[in-house]
């Protein structure tokens, strides 16, 4: 409106003002017929009026239309267009604005389509993720960096007897009650999910670590927990934990241990009967024996003893392999342990007239190891050295600290700080062709078998298994007929405590 008015008034004044001025001067000169002139003047004024009106309308219309279109576009109405037919600059402007409106409309429609597509894809993926989490048979929990619950999946909901909507945002410790074997509840900071936040490390509990989730109805069940921190762009934003119900696993484990226990008992019972009856007979309690009878009885008795040793060794192997072993590290004096083992073998050493050299390094530290296991290692290696060496041999025992990178023998280097235990004997040695089987279960080298028929073939296997457990190494150098040197490395960081269910005997 305003524009049209402006145009109208402009045209009017452009036309009328000079007309009026001229008319005024003309009327001053002419006296007669002034009425006629006056009428003509009025006629002219009126026509000027209407002409201006029409002109203003024509000039302003395209601009007004353009303004309306612009406003419509501004209001997201992309369907309006202007119809401007003049072939001048106004017409060009009109076409250009029309084209612009076309493109805006197309773009707008295109954008909406894209948004619809993307949204539906996201919804699909979200549905897929939710389906995955819902179908995982373990409980999944995600917490934020402060410990508030962000998410728990349906299995986790069932595990604790709470719904996601009830616990979202709650601190994890208040919703999840986790306790140890004795029933003492673990505070949130001590739980592995919290540890994942603070230590920023992943961790998985093992079957033997007793962790129980307590449901809302106060029943409990054992779980294995795997936790990991969640890091986004270098910052820790939370942690995720996976909880697995290990009731079945624990039952299987218990069954395994009981089997070994039962087997141990069942095998040993008849063996002990034979042993003791043999003992009573050989003692003469049941009457005197002829030399032949004694000889045969002794054979029975000795075989029985071999059987006893074999059963004992097999049971240890079973415990090692089933992983039901207890490791109880305590600060141990390794040198003292070696000396104790040696003293137990003293009788044989004296009988076979051995020379035993003990060379211990100067500052052997106390180590955190399980002394029972270490004893088994020393006992086995030392008794082998004694057993397989002819009389009057020399046995040299070395125990020393070796720093990381230093030489252990001519070829090997220490990959960490270790204690190196070495035993060298002047015994029958291990034939080259049989050396690679020396640590295998029940293997005995031919010359060993000939020298002493009584071995179980399990000693070194057990020793190696124990050493593998604490991350040490065992190897040897040997020449048949000359002697053997066995090497054992014990990492200075010692053994890790493991709460198994059985010890080696």
């Amino acid at each position: 409106m305003a524009l049209q008015l402006k145009f109208f008034l402009s045209f009017l004044s452009i036309a009328l003002i000079p007309l009026l001025i001229v008319s005024f001067f003309v009327f001053q000169r002419i006296r007669s017929d002034s009425n006629v002139l006056f009428i003509i003047l009025q006629f002219v004024v009126v026509s000027i009026f209407f002409t201006s009106l029409w002109a203003s309308f024509t000039f302003s219309r395209p601009i007004v239309h353009l303004a309306e279109l612009a406003r419509a576009i501004g209001n997201k109405n992309f369907s309006k267009r202007v119809r401007i037919v003049s072939r001048d600059e106004i017409g060009t402007l009109g076409n250009a604005v029309n084209k612009m409106a076309d493109q805006l409309e197309a773009a707008h429609v295109g954008l909406e389509e894209t948004i619809k597509e993307r949204t539906s894809t996201l919804m699909e993926e979200k549905a897929k993720d939710e389906a995955i989490l819902a179908s995982i048979s373990d409980g999944v929990v995600m917490i934020d960096e402060k410990g508030g619950i962000l998410f728990i999946n349906p299995v986790a909901e069932r595990m604790v007897g709470l719904r996601l909507k009830d616990v979202r945002g709650e601190n994890y410790g208040s919703a999840f009650r986790i306790e140890n074997e004795e029933g003492t509840m673990l505070p949130f900071e001590k739980q592995s999910l919290a540890q994942a936040l603070t230590l920023q490390k992943s961790y998985t509990t093992s079957i033997t670590e007793a962790t129980y989730i307590v449901r809302s109805d106060t029943t409990r069940f054992p779980v294995s927990i795997s936790t990991a921190p969640v890091i986004l762009a270098g910052k820790i934003v939370g942690a995720v934990g996976v909880y697995r119900d290990i009731t079945k696993d624990k039952q299987i484990d218990k069954a395994k241990t009981e089997f070994v226990s039962l087997a141990s008992h069942q095998l040993r019972t008849p063996l002990s009967t034979i042993s003791w009856y043999g003992e009573v007979l050989l003692s003469g309690d049941m009457g005197p024996l002829t030399p032949k009878q004694r000889k045969y009885l002794e054979e029975i008795y000795n075989s029985n003893q071999r059987m006893v040793a074999l059963v004992g060794a097999l049971l240890n192997v079973a415990r090692l392999e089933l992983g039901t072993l207890i490791v109880e590290p305590i600060t141990t004096n390794i040198v003292g342990l070696i000396k104790t083992v040696l003293s137990e073998l003293r009788a044989t050493v004296i009988k076979k007239q051995f020379i035993v050299k003990e060379i211990y390094g100067k500052k052997i530290p106390l180590l955190s190891v399980d002394p029972k296991h270490m004893s088994i290692i020393f006992q086995n290696i030392l008794s082998n050295a004694i057993k397989y060496s002819p009389s009057q041999g020399v046995i040299e025992i070395n125990l020393d600290l070796r720093k990381k990178g230093s030489l252990l023998d001519e070829k090997k280097k220490a990959s960490q700080d270790v204690l190196l235990f070495q035993v060298t004997d002047t015994g029958i040695g291990i034939p080259l062709a049989q050396q690679e089987r020396i640590f295998k279960k029940l293997f005995r080298a031919d010359n060993a078998r000939a020298h002493d028929p009584d071995g179980t073939g399990l000693g070194l296997y057990i020793v190696k298994s124990i050493i593998d457990l604490f991350g040490g190494e065992i190897w040897f150098q040997s020449e048949e007929g000359k002697g053997t040197t066995f090497y054992v490395t014990i990492p200075l960081e010692g053994m890790v405590k493991k709460a198994g269910t059985r010890a080696l005997t």
Binding site: S261, S264, H265, S272, T273, V280, G312, T501
Partner: protein, 153 residues
């Protein structure tokens, strides 16, 4: 054939027994009959008065009937379901002098947790049957008796 009627030969032949001023009474709790026989024989040879039981109930009965039992030889698996451990618990929780009787466990089960439980309840020693000679066990029992066994828990 000249038989030497010396005390030692008579002893060896089982004709006479040790004349102690004190004969120790030992209660042997073991379910296997053949083993009971061998054990009893050997113990008698060593001068013990032997009472045998094959189950916890039998053992409890003997304890009640006999005036004084000096030592107990205890196996773990016994007749009737109740184990040596339960017998030991009964012993230790009684308020008579029974809880002070030294107990030697002789069993073929040697699970570390079992051994620990026995030791915690209070036994003199735990032997693995298959790995010990009868004589060795008896010697250790005799040694324990001769030392002032007044470190009773």
């Amino acid at each position: 054939m000249i038989l030497l009627f010396t005390k030692s030969t008579l002893l060896e032949k089982g004709i006479i027994f040790y004349e102690h001023t004190k004969t120790y009474t030992i209660l042997v709790v073991e379910d296997e009959v053949p083993l009971l026989e061998a054990i009893s024989r050997r113990l008698e040879r060593n001068g013990f008065w032997v009472v045998t039981a094959r189950s916890v109930d039998q053992a409890m009965n003997h304890l009640q009937d006999i005036e004084k039992v000096d030592i107990i030889w205890l196996d773990h698996y016994l007749l009737g379901g109740a184990t040596g451990l339960e017998f030991l618990e009964k012993l230790k929780s009684s308020d008579s002098s029974w809880k002070n009787i030294p107990v030697f466990v002789v069993s073929n089960t040697a699970g570390a947790d079992k051994v620990k439980t026995y030791m915690q309840l209070g036994v003199e020693k735990f032997f693995i049957k298959a790995e010990k000679r009868l004589d060795e066990i008896i010697d250790e029992i005799k040694k324990a008796l001769e030392t002032p066994v007044n470190n009773l828990k």
